[in-house]
């Protein structure tokens, strides 16, 4: 049981795709406990294993830590992936691993996530709103993707012009 420091970019591990994880991995129980302890000790609502130094496909999302949010409560998923997403929106996003910066990113309002729970059940979760954003952000971490990779220049989008004089 340990609270780990949350890695900050430019830690290279944050840009590396995470390896898939075996349920029989002997280190899994202690890693799960460390994830829970670290999230409990942080101001955040979600964490991906690479953020605490383990490049494996494990995320913890618990949006109920934020006032007014419930979602699915505490969710630990191994080998998670996004099956489907729907409803584009722009969100101002920040990340514990990239302090002091936020940017507008394109996300989805609904996200369907598949993964395996620590007790071995394969689950499919339909998430929406804040919880859907959390899953998208954490599953990005598993692919070595930071929100910085998804920044949208809103003004460019809105005002994209034909090249040359019109």
């Amino acid at each position: 049981m340990a609270v780990h420091p949350i890695l900050l970019y430019p830690e290279s591990l944050l840009k590396s795709p995470a390896a898939s994880l075996s349920l029989s991995d002997p280190s899994l129980p202690s890693l799960i406990q460390d994830m829970v302890d670290t999230l409990d000790d942080s101001p955040g609502v979600a964490l991906a294993a690479p953020q605490i130094g383990y490049s494996v496909n494990l995320i913890l999302v618990d949006v109920a830590r934020k006032k007014g949010e419930r979602g699915h409560g505490q969710v630990l998923l191994i080998n998670s992936r996004i099956l489907h997403q729907n409803g584009l929106r722009i969100v101002r996003e920040g990340c514990l691993s990239v302090p002091d910066y936020t940017g507008n990113v394109r996300r989805y309002e609904q996200t369907v996530v598949e993964g395996t729970t620590p007790d071995g059940r394969v689950v499919i979760l339909t998430t929406s709103g804040f919880e859907a954003l959390a899953f998208q952000h954490e599953i990005d971490h598993l692919g070595g993707i930071l929100f910085l990779d998804r920044i949208e220049s809103l003004s460019t989008d809105l005002f994209r012009r034909r090249a040359g004089p019109s």
Binding site: V91, E93, G94, Y101, N104, A134, F159
Partner: protein, 182 residues
């Protein structure tokens, strides 16, 4: 102690301006901190916050850059930035809104909308305006990003904007941008 300068550069757009400007700054030992650049039609416009080397005074910067910028026809202005204004800011917790205003072009749209925002203690943190549409029927489009004071809802600003709509003959949409940190 570090000294900082704000540099603005503008001139007719062409390829190579950013390269020439940044090479000039690099060769003078300046460090580019934060930058914003855009084009207004065919005009290039850039603002750069620069950390200066010890031997270079802010009022010397524009002249020392001239060998790089003059051949491109760039106008360059510099002034020192107070140290306290250069500190990195943590992300604001204030609610963020996007305000879209558009309609037939006429004088006073920007002034009256910006006044309404200011009267509601809103801070305009980003702004883009364009004249678009057909030449004989120009349409004015303005997109503002606004921060309202913490805990302040958008209702009273929304009401003020609704009153402006018929006066200015524009459509106005105010919408919240959700801000999240994971």
């Amino acid at each position: 102690m570090d000294r900082y300068a704000m540099l603005t550069a503008f001139g007719q757009d062409r390829s190579g301006i950013v390269a020439a400007l940044s090479e000039g700054l690099y060769q003078l030992g300046c460090n580019i901190e934060d930058t914003c650049m855009t084009r207004l039609r065919g005009e290039f416009a850039m603002m750069v916050m620069v950390r200066l080397p010890a031997a270079l005074a802010p009022d010397q910067l524009a002249a020392r850059l001239a060998p790089h910028t003059a051949p491109l026809g760039l106008t360059v202005l510099c002034r020192e930035v107070p140290l306290q204004a250069t500190a990195l800011e943590p992300p604001s917790e204030k609610p963020i809104f996007m305000l879209s205003v558009y309609g037939a072009d006429r004088p006073g749209i920007v002034a009256q909308v910006a006044r309404a925002v200011a009267d509601h203690d809103g801070n305009i943190t980003d702004m883009n305006t364009r004249v678009v549409g057909a030449t004989d029927r120009p349409v004015y489009v303005m997109i503002l990003e606004i921060q309202l004071p913490a805990g302040r809802g958008p209702e009273s600003l929304q009401e003020a904007l609704d009153r402006l709509k018929p006066r200015l003959g524009v459509d106005i949409t105010l919408r919240a941008i959700e801000s999240v940190r994971f």
